[in-house]
């Protein structure tokens, strides 16, 4: 059963680009949330992660801040 994966990102941040590439390479479907286009998404990001950096991943409610490859792998069972 595929997990519900959300990526909070901005179009220009290098680590956001890398994290999305990483998910694509591993054939993980995800919802990209561009926080630069949506103030409500910014508020959601801050509320979920308690901080203001991107990228942030929400994997079935587990919040991962930054491109933390090991944590992402573990959470997705890769």
């Amino acid at each position: 059963m595929a997990k519900n994966v959300k990526v909070y990102s901005t179009p220009t941040c290098p680590w956001c680009i890398r994290v999305k590439q990483f998910l694509e390479e591993n054939h993980i479907d995800f919802q990209n949330i561009d926080v630069s286009a949506d103030q409500r998404a910014v508020d959601e990001l801050i509320q979920k992660s308690g901080q203001m950096g991107v990228p942030v991943l929400d994997i079935e409610g587990q919040i991962i801040v930054g491109f933390d490859r090991e944590k992402i792998k573990q959470s997705l069972g890769l």
Binding site: T10, P11, T12, C13, P14, W15, C16, I17, R18, V35, S36, Q39, V42, L45, I46, G50, Q51, M52, G53, V54, V65, R69
Partner: protein, 303 residues
């Protein structure tokens, strides 16, 4: 353990260009880096890389990466080099994950952001305080922000932020802004930028997130209410792992015109070196020179 002909440390413009040249020379090499694209990936708009009248930092970094991987290059990404030493006629490159050996090394590990060193900086990192306007700038839509610094990187950050933030304050500790005249002009024309010269940030304050900075300026100490703080006060070389390699007082690796260091077989290129001027195009050119020197070294020493 496998012994490579060459290990390239760093995958910014210098390291990636060195990898392209090394691949085309059919050198057996490995490239190790924490990230791909280096500082180029963190830049805003690039208008001085020949062939591109305009390209964004992330796009240029993407093109560099595609060019590197076209040759099926062996890349260890997400590994940080922690040590470089000579061992049994070869070099031992130690990372936070593993050890690698090679007959020659190109150090192209670049620079990283310098920290301000004031109270509040560590506590508010990613809570309103950031070192990357390109990444986190869009989160400050409609807010008041401060850019700390007065050189090109501060101007670049300010120019990215004028389109997003309500008000941009540049806090510069010298009598006047530095950087390129064309960028200073764009900052002046933006309309929502205030420049505070001769001013030093002495602390960053707030509750859960940044709410103000304390500034020591020409008229004494004052508080400036801001929700975002962007630190752009320059860079320090990533050279500490290369303990035996000779450096200048700034920590930059000393090289000669052939990119040789004081240790035969160890070459260096780009922003981590004492090469005059730090530019993407210069780093790329230096990377190609280092790769050609390393390839010559390998041939002469009949490895």
């Amino acid at each position: 353990m496998q012994i490579y002909d060459l290990i390239i440390i760093g995958a910014g413009p210098a390291g990636i260009t060195a990898s392209v040249y090394s691949a085309r020379k059919k050198v057996n090499f490995l490239i190790i880096s924490l990230d791909v694209g280096g500082q180029a990936a963190w830049s805003g708009d690039i208008e001085n890389y020949t062939g591109y009248q305009f390209i964004s930092g992330p796009d240029l970094a993407q093109k560099f990466q595609e060019h590197m991987l076209k040759y099926n290059t062996a890349l260890k990404e997400g590994e940080e080099v922690t040590g470089l030493s000579a061992s049994g006629g070869a070099f031992l490159v130690r990372t936070d994950k593993s050890d690698y050996r090679s007959r020659s090394v190109i150090i192209a590990s670049g620079k990283k952001s310098k920290e301000l060193g004031v109270p509040g900086e560590k506590e508010f990192k990613n809570r309103g305080l950031t070192y990357c306007a390109t990444c986190d700038g869009p989160l400050f839509s409609g807010k008041s922000v401060a850019v700390i610094g007065g050189g090109n990187s501060a101007l670049d950050a300010a120019l990215q932020l004028v389109k997003i933030a309500k008000q941009v304050n540049i806090i510069n500790n010298t009598p006047a802004l530095g950087g390129d005249a064309i960028m200073r002009q764009k900052v002046e024309e933006a309309g929502n930028v205030t420049v505070l010269n001769n001013s030093q940030v002495i602390s960053v304050t707030g509750d859960k997130f940044v709410s103000a900075i304390k500034i020591k300026g020409e008229t004494g100490i004052s508080d400036l209410a801001v929700q975002g703080v962007f630190i752009e006060i320059g860079l320090v070389p990533n050279s500490a792992f290369a303990a035996q390699v000779e450096k200048n007082s700034k920590g930059e690796i000393k090289i000669n015109p052939r990119n040789e260091t004081n240790i035969p077989g160890v070459f260096a290129a780009g922003d981590v070196t004492d090469v005059p001027e730090k530019q993407i195009i210069i780093a790329a050119g230096e990377g190609s020179k280092a790769a050609l020197s390393a390839s010559r070294y390998l041939a002469v020493n009949k490895f």
